[in-house]
Amino acid sequence: MSDEGLLYLGKLCARAVLEVIETAAGIGMEIVDMDGEADASIMAIAALEAGESGVLTLRSDAATLRVLTSYMTGVPEADLDEEALYDCIHELMNMTVGLIKAEAKDDAFKFRMIAPFVVTGEHLHSLHKPRAQKHACRVASGDMFIELWLFF
């Protein structure tokens, strides 16, 4: 993928995540500067296949997802189990890719999402080959954050 293409796709992803969260949870986030990876404990990962193919990851933490899930479902934060948080980030991924597909001008970016899954742990990091193209951005509101990492 060209650098311009990756940059365009990165911006598209960021706008999609912001719109998903605004619409589904009623929470306004904004793109913020990144100084390295945030300390993530929950990550959704999906392969994207179209004219271009790569991987999208959404990284966040339990505190952020607890708030988002509560706002999206109306269930009080204290009543949410971990499974609900995993469902939340999984659905955020699903909706984000759906919006990317709807907004992308180029058919090369009308992705089919393959095998999305969620990884949990502490201090999760994404490792990749140096030659892989990557683009990352972070959307946040206060202490809440979601990082998007694209790998092509």
């Binding site: 719109e19 998903v20 619409t23 589904a24 009623g26 899930t69 999206m72 479902t73 109306g74 269930v75 609900a84 469902d87 939340c88 999984h90 659905e91 699903n94 909706m95 890719v97 759906g98 919006l99 990317i100 597909k101 709807a102 009308k110």
Partner: protein, 116 residues
């Protein structure tokens, strides 16, 4: 996740919600409770049998063909909406959606005619 969101909305409307994890379970519920069902919401992406397949089967079964169906799909799959409407879905909802939008569309479909 979507079922949780829909459940919250139906609780606000004080409607009874019957939930299925996949298309096969959806059909089992239809067999048992079709007389009580006023509206079916189908997510396009379901395991075992997807929402579109359930819609087609419902419309081909005289026991269920009259039950209105609303499809739920992602924004990027608008061609799915066309297919679903052609197959007999009365309404659709694209994700992400606001709860108010869901409630509005459900009320459009069932109005005040909810089973006792």
């Amino acid at each position: 996740m979507i079922r949780k969101i829909i459940r919250a909305a139906m609780n606000m409307l004080e409607y009874e919600l019957l939930e299925a994890e996949d298309g096969i379970e959806a059909f089992n519920i239809l067999e048992e409770r079709h007389q009580d069902i006023d509206l079916v919401l189908l997510d396009w992406n379901m395991p075992r049998k997807n929402g579109y397949e359930v819609l087609l089967d419902m419309k081909n079964d005289p026991r269920y063909a009259h039950i209105p169906v609303m499809m739920v799909t992602t924004e990027g799959d608008k061609m799915n909406i066309v297919a679903a409407v052609k197959a007999g879905a009365v309404n659709y909802l694209t994700k992400p959606f606001k709860v108010e939008e869901l409630i509005g569309k459900v009320l459009e479909c069932v109005g005040d005619e909810v089973s006792e």
